[in-house]
Amino acid sequence: MSRIGVFVCHCGLNIAKTVRVSELAEFAATLPDVVVAKDYKFMCSTPGQEMIANDIKEHRLDRVIVTACSPLMHEQTFRKVLAASGLNQYLLSIVNIREQVSWVTHDIEEGTAKSKALLNGAVNRARLLAPLTSRVIDVNPDVMVVGAGIAGIQAALELANTGKKVYLVEKNSTIGGHMAQFDKTFPTLDCSACILTPKMDNVLQHKNITLMTSCEVTEVKGFVGNFDITVKQKARYVDHDKCNACLACTEKCPGKGVSEWDEGLVKRKAIYIPFPQAVPQKPVIDRDACTYFIKGKCRLCEKVCEQKAIDFEQQDTSTTVKVGAVIVATGYDLMDTKPLLQYGYGRYPGVYNALEVERLFNSAGPTGGKVTLRDGREPQAIAIFHCIGSRDKNNYEHCSRVCCMYSLKFAHLFKEKTSADVYQFYIDMRAAGKGYEEFYNRIIEEDVKFIRGKGARVAESADEPGRLIVEAEDTITGKFIKLPVDMVVLSPAMKPRADSKDIARLFNLSTDKYGFFMERHPKLAPLSTMSEGIFIAGVCQSPKDIPDTVAQAYGAAAEALTIVVKDKLELEATTAMVNPASCCACLNCVRVCPYGAPFFNEQKGVSEINEALCKGCGLCASVCPSSAIIARHFTNDQVLAEMEGLMEF
């Protein structure tokens, strides 16, 4: 038997105008187990709260029902009253007779009748309410940032500057990401390296940042505040502790590998640093290109290394890092345009993708910053194709957001570095960003030709060997265009990293249909994910430009701080639990949970729920066929009882 107190609020006239509040209190008093029922002008006022507190003591109440405004308004207020009176705060039930009764009717009969039904439901439910306690856990103050492009670098620096220890994990041998490959950045045309490399250096120097290059996350255990993350250090075959970066090894090395940094336009050595300003500026050996690894002899690098830093026996190693929060900033890949046969990428030497062109402009690039074709000629006419694979239902439906602007940048740089005619083939010109429209206008004036129509086809010229014919429909004139050019630049879709699904699985993130990570809420929680304590920043969430990426990095750092700044963390109390006696091991809960909270305990043969991961949505309880899962505060019993109460009158 419960001892229920019912407190009916007038809310001035807000409620009392269309609900007969005293009649409601009298009605409540007739319901089984209700030992006290009162009405009062403003229940949320101090005297109102005191009245409830006094009655809890005087009548030894073990359940409290406040019949007032929406629980979204004052549930917390009244929970505190219960807690202060020594009653568990979850033994409270709110009946919403303001927003959902008195404010939506003018008819006092209707209002009163509906209020009675709602109250009856609440009394039924209140009897079955159980006291709940939140679990408090210790929080590890460190943070891991996965991916060291501009987003990861920025986030790591921000966090490190607040004094937090940061593990920055990068799978390549250098940090910097795509931004390190760019020559200039739009719309200001400032040099990419000039603004990025100081940050890269800061990372290396920062006492709070542990830089983990050539590293990959292989396992994530734990939950918010207490992640145990296993990181694999891939073998570099160079002991970076001994190496003094003299780079004598790279001079002597006879091996030839493909330069990733130069987008494969040139070769590099088998022992190499990716580019001169790489961080850390210490070489690694590319096993697939190394003569020793291929043929079993060479070891020239070992001979020239005075530090004895070369170690051909080095193996992959694993370490486990404990952190309280994680920022995932794994960036993007460009879509492979080879399968789009109509553009001839990979077949015609004159067709380039955007990142290759970035390298052509760069003074540290394969051509020393001169724009020349693969055969050494300077192009006379250049076509830039926008939206290759983007805004394309057959490939990627999204707009990649940056292509319009970098295509304009390319046009400018082509104009600056060559005397070529430059043609832009675009669907729409999207220049939404600070200074972007102005940049567009500037390029228009630079004698760049704009053709509103998507590049449809690239073919070899039959008349002039080595030249290309581009085809498109000019949608303004409605004319079909055929144009001879020397160079075609494709602006391919930005897509998630090839391994984004693996990353998603590791960190229990959800992805959209292409593999971009899903934010918790598209507007109100764009950097949080459905996994508490895991945040995202940069293009891994969706295509965006550098300013937006950096802004997100700051934001994600702040989000991560909100967790690691605390010593203790209170977990949800309204979580789900499994009654092992009823569990039939169908694993439905394990299959559906968006947070990976339920897991199968092989030994016991039943499912269990990691309450630290549970958000209390109750999905598992509804897919549990044997009703073994108890969704606390919304149990089957409680819902059924409430329904019965609502339907009784």
């Binding site: 169908c586 439905n588 299959r591 044997s626 059924l640």
Partner: protein
């Protein structure tokens, strides 16, 4: 030319003996003698000498997949399956109740099975109507050629065309007979919950007594629990001592699920059970 029952029985015995002798399985779920020819029983052969007791004839309707979950996880089991039975095995693999690698599936291609209680030939009216197992390691006979021309859902047409009140009256009459012996759920290969929701007292989903309200709650919820999982073997209806045509309702739900989610139960071990799955582009039309 379809393989005869006798030939299948011989092959079943040979395979069972081979598997048990080699120790590659610890038991074979098949059929054995009952109290007469027309009433064979589910049979578990545990050693080579048990094999002699195995029979197969047109009355061996039981879905032996039903017994898989009775043995501890990891038990190596050979199971004799007809078409629908193999779908049950697939569904159980999807639901991770059994592992594919722990099973040797002895497929039986067969048509013209008979209900041992009534002697009627079993076809697509009361089952999925397939002749050949969907998944097997060994096929104990030649595939039966020519799938049934009649869709397993054709039998529904008359009921779908009924006026809603007539349909309600029809089901009321059927469910009213229910004595709550739970033979339906116990014969069902997919009903492995213990306890069943209806046996729960907290929450109490429905009355325990065989009254219309409790019966309705039991059956409707069971239909929902089997939605996208029922493989239409018809065992529930054959087990029912009061002949409630449960298969009709199951067929209807299966048909709707197939139309809405584009996936039939127990057809591929790669599938995920439809009701613990979703597609972002599921249409809202399914709610209309």
């Amino acid at each position: 030319m379809a393989t005869s029952f006798k030939q299948i029985e011989e092959k079943l015995k040979t395979e069972a003996a081979k598997l048990l002798e080699s120790g590659s399985v610890s038991l074979v779920l098949a059929y054995g003698k009952g109290y007469d020819e027309k009433h064979p029983m589910p049979y578990v052969a545990k050693c080579a000498s048990d094999v002699a007791n195995i029979v197969f004839n047109e009355f061996c309707t039981y879905n032996m997949a039903r017994y898989l979950v009775r043995y501890p996880r990891g038990t190596k089991i050979a199971v004799a399956v007809k078409a629908a039975d193999s779908r049950a095995v697939i569904q159980l693999i999807q639901e991770e109740k059994v592992k594919r690698e722990d099973l040797v599936i002895l497929g039986i291609p067969v048509s013209g099975m008979k209900n041992p209680k009534t002697g009627e030939t079993i076809d697509s009216k009361t089952t999925c109507g397939l002749y050949n197992p969907v998944l097997y390691d060994v096929l104990l006979g030649e595939e039966v050629h020519g799938q049934p021309v009649v869709s397993p859902y054709d039998v529904l047409a008359g009921y779908e065309a009924m006026d809603k009140d007539a349909r309600w009256a029809f089901w009321q009459k059927e469910f009213d007979r229910c004595i709550r012996c739970y033979a339906c759920r116990k014969a069902c290969p997919m009903c492995y919950c213990d306890p069943c929701f209806i046996d729960q007292t907290k929450p109490k989903w429905g009355d325990k007594s065989p009254e219309p309200a409790g019966n309705l709650m039991y059956h409707l919820t069971r239909f929902h629990h089997l939605a996208g999982r029922c493989i239409d073997c018809g065992e529930c209806s054959r087990a029912c001592p009061v002949d409630i045509p449960l298969y009709l309702f199951h067929k209807k739900v299966a048909k709707e699920c197939e139309e809405m989610f584009g996936q039939a139960a127990g057809m591929s071990i790669e599938d995920k059970p439809a009701l613990v799955n979703f597609r972002v582009d599921d249409s809202d039309k399914i709610l209309e």
